[in-house]
Amino acid sequence: MNIFKQFTLRSLKENKTRTLVTIIGIILSVSMFTATIEAFVTVQNYLINYAEMYNGKFHVGFVDVENDDVSKITEDERVEKYTYFQEIGYAEIGSSNEYKPYLYIAGIPSDFTDIMPIHLTEGRLPENSNEIVVSEHLYTNSGVKLKIGQQITLDVGDRQWIELVDISDEEYEALEGDTWAKLTQEYPLRKAEGEEATEKIVNTKQKTYTVVGFCLRPDEQYLEPYTAPGYTAYTINEAGNTKHSNVYTIISQPTDYSRFNLDIVRGIEVNSLINHDLLTYSLQSFDSAFAGLAIGLLSILIGLIVFGSVSLIYNTFSISVSERTKQFGILKSVGATKKQIRKSVLYEAAVLCVIGIPVGLISGCLGIAVTFRFLSDSISTFLAELTDLKMQFVFSPLALIAASMISFVTVIISAYIPARKAIKINPIESVRQSNEIKIKRRRVKVSPLTGKIFGFEATLSSKNFKRNKRKYRTTVFSLFVSVVLFISASSLSTYFTDIVEAESQDMNYDVLVRVYNNDIHSDDDGLSDENKALINKLYNSLNSVDSIDEYTMAEAMGTEFMVDNEFIADEYKKMLKAVYSSEIAESRDYGTFVYNFIDDAAFKRLLEKEGISEKGYFDENNPNALVYDRTTHIFQTGEKESVYSVPFLDKDKFPCALPVSDIMYTFEKDGTEYYSFGTEEINGELLYKYDIPRDEGEDIDPSTAIYLSEEEAVTTANINIGNSLKEKPCFVTGQVNLIYPESLKESICAEYELDGYYQMRIYIFADDHAKAVTDIEQLIKDIGAGGKMSVHDYASEIESTRALVTIAKVLAYGFIVLISMIAAANVFNTISTNISLRRREIATLKSVGLTSKGMAKMMTFESLLYGLKSLMFSLPVSLGVTYLVYFVARDSGYEMGFYVPWDKFIIAILSVFIIVVLSMVYSIRKVNRENTVETLRNENI
C-alpha cells in the first residue's frame, strides 16, 4: 500500500472521534438527500399513478372530433399512442333523473384501457360489440337496475332538436344559432324547468346488448361531463361507425403539450382536454400554484440540507487538515509533491465516503420506507375514492445515484478547499504552523474589565480567542450555521403545516344534502316550492335513519347591503388596498349578508358551545343576530393567486345596531317602473339615476330618466348584532353570516323584506358517514326525490385533509430532527477538535499550575464567548431566512401573517449553550485524562 494511503488511514484511526463524527455527518446528509429525493420520487410516482388511474394516461384529449378529422390527430408525428371512444348512439333508458334520460353507448377499441380508465366494480370488460359495461351511477342516480348477464334491447339513435325533426328546407334555413350544434355529451339535455324537452332521439336502430360488467362513474372532467344527458355504457366499437369520437393522445414530448394542443385545436376546431394532473406531477407543466409552492419549498429544503452538510463536512476537514498542516509540512520538506498531498486528502475523503455513503443510502431508504409504511393508510384515505391504490415505496436507483453523487461532490469539495490552503504555504511555515498563530500585538488587548469580572482565566481565554481567530471562527461559524438551519427548518415546517391546515379548515360537518335547484347549472336561484317540500319531507324522515347522529337544516337567504366605512374591518380595507391599490373610495361598501335560520334547539346548542347567553336572541321584536364573518377571498392576477381570509365587519364595534343601507333597485312612479342606473354627481350633489328598462349596454335616456336624492333612493335599516362566533358553524356560506333561530324567520323576513336567493341544506353528523350516505341515498329514492338531491360525503374529505396534515407534520418534524442532528454534530465536532488541538496549550498551563477549577472557569468563559458571538450573527440571519420562507409561501398565493418565531429563538438559544457546554465538558474530560508530560512530548515530535 502506498505510504500516503497508510498515512491517511492511520491518521483516521488516530482521531477516532473526529472520524466517527465526520462519518456520521456524511451518513446524516446522505440519508437526508436520499430520503428527500426518495420521498419526492415516491410521492410523485403515487400521484402519477393516481392521475393515470383516475384521469387516464393521456396527455391531451380532443372532444367530439368529426370522423374525417380523427386521422389528422392520430397521424400527427408527435402522437406516440392514442385511443378513442366513438359515439354509437343514445337510447331512452327509463331514468328517474329527468335531466339524464339516456344511456350513451360509446364504442371503444379493445385496448382502450391501456390509456383510459374504466374501473370495473363487477364483471368484466366487453369483448365484442354486443356486450356492454354500464356505469354504476345508472342505478344510484337514475334508479335503473340492471344485472350481469341481462340482455337489454334498446332503440339506439341520435339526439336531435325537436325543431329539426321533420321540417321543410325553408324552415331549416330560418333557424338560428345554437340549433345547428350537433348534440353530444357536451350538451346538457335541451329542457327548461317544468317544460318538455326540446329534443328527441331519431334515426333509431334496434340493438341488443348483454350486460357484462359495471364500472365506476366515468371521470367528469375527461370522459362523461357532469351535465351530460346520457349514462355512459362502453362496448367494443362497431366497424363502419362514422360518428364523432373523443380522441385521447399520448405525445412523445409531453413538455410540448401546449404547442401540440394549440396546433390541433386551431387545425380542426375542436375542444381539447388537458391532463393537467398527470403533466404537473410528471413535472412537464408548472401551471398550478401548488406546483410552484411545492417546488419553491423543495428548493429551500434541498438548499438547507446542502448548506448543512457542506458546512459540517467542510468544518471537519478544515480542522483535520489544519491539524495536520505540520505533518503536511514535514512531508513536503522531505519531498512530497503538492499532488501527492492533495491525493492523500482526497483519499481520506474517499475512504470516509466509502463508509458513509452506503450506510447513508441504506438508512435513508429504510427511514423513508418506514415513514411511508406508517403513513400509507393516511395517504390512501387522503385520496379516498380509489382505495385500492396504495402508496408504494419506489426504490429509485437514479435517486440513489443522485444522492450519492451530490454527497460525494459535497465531501470532495469540503475536503479539497481547506487542503488547497494547507498545500499552498511553504513547508517551514507549516512545520512551525506559523500561519495558524499569526499574532498581532494590538489584537491581543483584552479589556481589563474582563479580567476583573471573570478572573485571570477569562483574560487568558479571551486572548486565545483573539489571537487564534481562525480556529474560533470555525466553531462560531458552525454554531451560526446550526442556529440558522434549525430556525429556518422549523419555520419552513410551520408555514408548510399552516398552509396544509389552512387548506383543510373549511369543513365541519360530515354529510351535506342539497336539493338540486331548478336549473342544473346554478343552485343559487330561488328554490321551487316543490323542491322546498321535498327537502322538508326528507328532513322530517331523517330521524328514522339510525346511522345519523345529529342533523340540522339551515335555510339561507342572501342580500347585499351597504355598510358605512367606520364599521368595516381594517383587514378588509387593507386587502382591497393590496389588491386594487385603492382605498375604499366611497364612504361605504357593499357586503353580502346571508340570513341563516337554524332550528331553535340547534341555535341554543350553538350559543352554549360559544358560551353566549340566550338573552336577546329569541326576542321577536328586536332580535340579535349571531355573526360569523370571515371569508376567504381569492384573487387571480395573471398566474398568481392571492388568498385572503378576512372579516368584513369591524368586530370591535359589536354588539351594536349596525346601520345598513341599500339603493332601491326599482322605483315606481305614476304607474311606471323605473330601474336603478347608478349614480352621477350633479352640481356637487350625488344623485341616483333611474330610468325605464333598456337593453344591455345602453345608457339612460335623459327624456325619460329621473334623478332621486339620497333620502329618496336609499333605504336604511339597522341590524342588531349580538356576538361574533369564534368557530365557523357548518352551514355558513356567505360573507357576513347572520344567524337566527328558525322561530324568528317570518318576522325577520318581513322586517328586512328578504327575497334574495334561498337555500335549504341539511347538515348531518355521522360517525359512520359512509353508511349514512348510503342510507340517505336510499331514503331519497324512497320519498321519490331520486336524482333531485345531492349527497356529499365531506367527512371523507376531512379525513383525507387531516391525513395530509399528519403527513406534512411527520415529514416536517423528521426533517427538523435530522437537520438539528447535523447541526449538533457539527458543533460538537468543531469544539472537541478545537480543544484537542489545544492539548499542548492546556498541558502547558497545567504544567505551570492551572487548577481544574481555573480550567472550568476558562472554559465557561469561552462557551459564553462562542454562544454570544454566534447568536449575534445567527439570529438576524435566521429572521431573514424565515422571512424568505414566508415570502415564498406568500408569493405562491397563500396570504398569511409574518411572525417572528420567538419560541424557536428561545429553543435555539438554549440549545446553543447546552451543546456548547456539553461538547466542552466532553473534550476537556478527554484532555484531562491524558498525562500532561505525555501531551507536551507528543506535541514536540
Binding site: 505510504i3 514535514i330 509533491t337 517551514i428 514536540n940
Partner: protein, 227 residues
C-alpha cells in the same frame, strides 16, 4: 567544483517596527564533498540559512544554486522532487510523522518516490543509528535522542548530494554524539556527500573542513581548517 553557491541571500521576517533581518546579504559557495560547520550565537540566523538551503523556506532575496541549478527558480513540484532526492534535512526539532513507525519515517522519501526500499542499506543504516529493535516503534515511544537519529536516518536514506543537519547532536550524550558525527562523516566520505552541520559543539566544529561563523545574519568569519 562548487556544488552549492549562495548569492546575496537575505531573509526578512515581519514588517516595520517588528522587522527582523534573519539573514543579511549572505554569499558563499561550497565545493562538492566539503564538510562545513556553521556556528554562531542563538538567534543569529543559522536555522534560517539551512532551511533556505534545503528548499523548505523561501529567501526574501538572493539565490541558491545547487549543482548549477537555481533552486528557487524551480516550480513547486520540481522543488518537491529536489527536496526528496538532492538534499537531506535534519531539523533542530525532529519533525517526525507521529502516526508512522521508525522504519516508515526513515523510508518516507523513498516510499514517496514510489521506489522499492533497499533493504540491506536500510538495515545497515538502522544499525549505524543504533535503532535495532525499535523499527516498529512510533515516535512518541522513543527518547529525544532516538527521535533525532530517526530524522537523521530519514535524511540519509536517499543518499542526497547535500546533507543539512541542524544541531543533530543537540540532545545526545557525548558517546552518541560522537557516533552520529562519525556516521555523517562516513557518509560524507563514502558517497562524497557535501555536509553542512549547525552546531554549538566546538569539538564537532573542529572536525569539519571549514567553519562559517554567523552573527546577526551576516557571515562574521569563514575559515578553512588545514589538516
Amino acid at each position: 567544483m562548487d556544488i552549492l553557491k549562495i548569492e546575496n541571500l537575505s531573509k526578512i521576517y515581519g514588517e516595520g517596527e517588528n522587522q527582523v533581518k534573519a539573514l543579511d546579504n549572505v554569499s558563499f559557495s561550497v565545493p562538492k564533498g566539503q564538510f562545513v560547520a556553521i556556528v554562531g550565537p542563538s538567534g543569529s540566523g543559522k536555522s534560517t540559512l539551512l532551511h533556505i538551503l534545503g528548499g523548505v523556506d523561501k529567501p526574501t532575496s538572493g539565490k541558491v544554486f545547487l549543482d548549477g541549478q537555481d533552486v528557487y527558480a524551480q516550480n513547486e513540484d520540481q522543488l518537491a522532487v529536489f527536496r526528496r532526492r538532492q538534499v537531506g534535512l535534519v531539523y533542530q526539532f525532529y519533525n517526525l510523522i507521529p502516526v508512522l513507525n521508525v522504519t516508515e519515517n526513515i523510508t518516507l522519501p523513498v516510499l514517496m518516490d514510489g521506489k522499492k526500499v533497499d533493504k540491506t542499506y536500510l538495515e545497515e543504516l538502522i544499525g549505524m543509528l543504533s535503532l535495532k529493535g525499535r523499527e516498529k516503534h512510533l515516535p512518541n515511544e522513543l527518547s529525544g535522542g532516538q527521535q533525532q537519529r530517526v530524522s537523521i536516518g530519514r535524511a540519509l536514506i536517499n543518499n542526497p548530494a547535500v546533507m543539512l543537519a541542524d544541531e543533530p547532536t543537540g540532545n545526545l550524550d557525548s558517546k552518541n554524539s560522537h557516533e552520529i558525527v562519525e556516521l555523517l562523516k562516513v557518509s560524507n566520505k563514502k558517497y562524497s556527500q557535501t555536509l553542512i552541520v549547525i552546531t554549538h559543539d566546538e569539538s564537532i566544529a573542529l572536525q569539519a573542513d571549514r567553519i562559517i561563523t554567523i552573527n546577526d545574519g551576516k557571515i562574521e568569519s569563514d575559515k578553512l581548517l588545514q589538516r
